[in-house]
């Protein structure tokens, strides 16, 4: 598997590269920032949550497991008690019979048959009943077989019954090939110092029924084995009765033991067992299905669904928050950059202004001399009528004088930009200033067939500014607007309140507009689109300087063939609170 690209992606996600320049790069950077933030926010919220969920999951699973073991142990104990009770009842009944009758009574075949009938009626599951003397000879017998006189002296069960007093045999197949077990009870004769044994054979069917009380699935098994591992009851999956079962090492003999084991194929299973009192039997349960943990499976599905929903919601929230956050950052960065650009522009214009002022000043003196010398030449020419080239000289001198006049206009305007205004600011109504300016231009607008529409906001706060300078700026802007239009154009003048501390005047024309390149240089000195003869390229440069000095702002928006809008923003006069 190629891990390299994945690792590179992870690196790009985890580490955030600091700022560089360029719009495309900025876009990439914001995307990178988003990825990084989403990644870390998700990791920081989801990882602890998953750790918590995993820990809880294992804890709950252990709890379920413990619970199911308890349940199994409970079932085994129940079955064990029932089996023990079953055996106990039979033993007690035999002991009762033995102690309630004498040897000679029980030797009577007919009486034994009657007792057997009553015994079978009351306790059931009894196959036969026999009396064995101390030599191991069956003296009397009642049951389906003919076993009277059978010698048991050499059989193991006889010896165990003799030594223990009570003996419960392992299962064996009788003559009818049905599984049975025998219970033998020894009865001592105190007077004669002798003994005899009463023996009953019990059908295993009842025990099988008792085993079925343990709640099991198809894959599970409950059965009884002997201590040597011989199956005492038939089993579902572990062989038939009397077959051998590979018993795990059974260490505890008291109570109920539950073991977690693995089969030959390595699959886990639960093995529970309990020793049955008075017998060599072991009640065993093999549980492979995990039925008892099925409830855990349902729970698990719900649990994982909840986790999935929570993780999804976290991711959703992370995406949303990061989106909002990065947009905030982007906006503030863009704003900052715009301010920086503006400051840079203003600084540039200011230094150009200072430079221009210095140059103008220096140029002005030679200009004055040229002016006087040329003027003198003109005067002389005017007086000397006999000069043959008079007209030619006059044209040249006039050319010089006109050029001086043009140069003077430029130097004056440049100085006007840089000069500190020693005018005291006055409080005025911007609408008044605009109305005056439109008044000045009335003839011009009529002549050019330009329609001027005034849309002046009512009750605007007054601004602290300078009437003359403001007039100059508005005249300049409106003149430019008219220059940009053919006859029949339209100029709209709108004043309103931008915010509570700023009054705004917008002058919108329907002229030819400007492209982005022109717009970029609009406030630069000597930048003109009107051609050298018509404009000096200083009007907007100076207007810019004036508005900045008045503490305001001048902005321009334009679209080619749609028109241009100049916006002049001026600070409102903050009236000093009067002392009551």
């Amino acid at each position: 598997m190629k891990l390299r690209p994945f690792i590179d992606f992870l690196k790009s996600v985890i580490t955030f590269r600091p700022m560089d320049t360029g719009a495309d790069f900025a876009e990439m950077r914001y995307k990178g920032l988003k990825r990084t933030l989403v990644f870390w926010m998700s990791v920081l919220t989801i990882v602890p949550l998953l750790v918590l969920f995993t820990a809880s999951y294992y804890w709950l699973q252990a709890l379920f497991h413990e619970e199911s073991r308890h349940e199994l142990a409970w079932d085994i104990e129940n079955a064990k008690n029932q089996i023990e009770y079953f055996v106990d009842v039979k033993i007690s009944a035999l002991r009762f019979l033995a102690s309630g009758h004498r040897y000679d009574q029980l030797s009577d075949q007919q009486l034994l048959a009657r007792i057997f009938a009553a015994f079978k009626r009351e306790f059931g599951a009894v196959v036969d009943l026999g009396l064995i003397d101390k030599h191991g000879i069956q003296q009397s017998y009642t049951g389906p077989y003919n076993l009277q006189g059978k010698d048991y002296a050499n059989q193991e069960w006889f010896h165990k019954a003799v030594t223990r007093g009570i003996y419960v045999s392992d299962v064996f197949l009788g003559y009818r090939r049905l599984p049975h077990f025998a219970i033998a009870v020894k009865q001592d004769e105190p007077d004669t110092d002798t003994f005899w044994i009463l023996r009953a054979t019990i059908d295993m069917e009842t025990l099988n029924r008792l085993l079925s009380s343990i709640k099991l699935d198809d894959a599970d098994d409950a059965f009884i084995i002997s201590r040597s591992g011989t199956l005492q009851t038939s089993s579902q999956h572990h062989g038939d009765v009397l077959e051998q079962y590979a018993v795990p090492a059974l260490l505890r003999q008291r109570g109920i033991t539950i073991l977690d084991l693995k089969d030959d194929a390595g699959r886990p299973y639960v093995f529970g067992y309990a020793f049955i009192k008075d017998t060599s039997w072991i009640l065993s349960v093999v549980e492979k299905s995990g039925t008892r943990t099925k409830i855990a499976a349902v729970f698990r599905a719900e649990y994982f669904a909840v986790i999935a929903v929570i993780v999804f919601l976290i991711l959703l929230a992370a995406f949303r928050m990061v989106h909002v956050m990065v947009n905030w950052i982007r906006e503030s960065e863009e704003k900052r950059e715009e301010v920086l650009r503006e400051v840079e522009h203003a600084t540039k214009l200011a230094s150009i202004g200072r430079l221009a002022a210095g140059v103008s000043h220096e140029i002005n003196n030679p200009l004055a001399i040229i002016n006087e010398k040329a003027g003198l030449m003109k005067d002389i020419l005017m007086l000397s009528e006999n000069n043959v080239d008079r007209e030619k000289f006059l044209r040249s001198v006039n050319g010089i004088l006109d050029s001086v006049k043009r140069a003077r206009t430029i130097t004056h305007q440049l100085l006007g930009f840089a000069r500190r205004m020693d005018v005291t600011p006055e409080v005025l109504d911007i609408n008044d200033v605009l109305t005056e300016v439109v008044g000045f231009l009335q003839k011009e607008t009529l002549f050019r067939d330009v329609q001027v529409k005034q849309n002046l906001g009512a009750d605007l706060p007054r601004v602290k500014s300078n009437r003359g300078r403001l007039q100059q700026v508005f005249l300049n802007i409106i003149n430019n607007a008219m220059d940009a239009m053919e006859a029949g154009g339209r100029i709209e003048i709108i004043t309103d309140l931008k915010d509570k501390s700023t009054v705004r005047a917008r002058i919108r024309d329907s002229g030819r507009g400007m492209d982005a390149q022109t717009l970029k240089h609009i406030f630069d000195p000597f930048f003109t689109t009107k051609g050298m003869t018509k404009g000096t390229g200083l009007g907007l440069f100076i207007s810019y300087g004036i508005i900045k000095k008045l503490g305001g702002n001048i902005l321009v928006q334009s679209e080619v063939d749609k028109g241009t809008t100049f916006t002049v923003e001026l600070p409102v006069d903050q009236p000093v609170p009067t002392i009551a």
């Binding site: 000043h361 002005n364 003196n365 002016n371 010398k373 005067d379 001086v404 004056h412 840089a418």
Partner: protein
């Protein structure tokens, strides 16, 4: 009526001499000097009707020269020849008794009008 006597005081000799000559052509009795000291000397010899004076000259401070002239010869009208960017000085000059100011380079026609007005004012006194 004799010609109006105009004294030009400007350290820029080329400018002052040419302007003086042009004024002479227009019938004024114009004379150019190139420093404040020369100016004072000329005034004491033959007091002019109107003085055209640059306030930004080396040596004696222009405004002081103006004050001195107005103090000694209050009748003489002074028109300030202002350099560009020194309108503040010109305004100060007006406060100190100057008749008016013109900004260089000057339009001869404007200047002539101002000289005539100054002369008129002087004659009214």
């Amino acid at each position: 009526m004799s010609a109006t006597k105009v004294l030009l005081v400007d350290d820029e000799a080329e400018f002052a001499s040419a302007l003086a000559e042009r004024l002479q052509m227009r019938g004024y009795d114009a004379k150019a000097v190139y420093s404040a000291d020369e100016g004072f000397e000329s005034i004491s010899r033959d007091a002019p009707d109107v003085i055209l004076m640059d306030l930004n000259m080396p040596g004696i401070k222009g405004i002081e020269a103006l004050k001195t002239v107005k103090l000694v010869h209050p009748a003489i009208e002074v028109i300030i020849l202002s350099g560009l960017g020194s309108e503040e000085t010109a305004t100060e000059g007006l406060r100190n008794g100057a008749f008016d100011y013109v900004v260089k380079p000057v339009e001869i026609e404007d200047l002539v009008i101002k000289i005539d007005q100054a002369k008129e004012k002087k004659d009214r006194k």
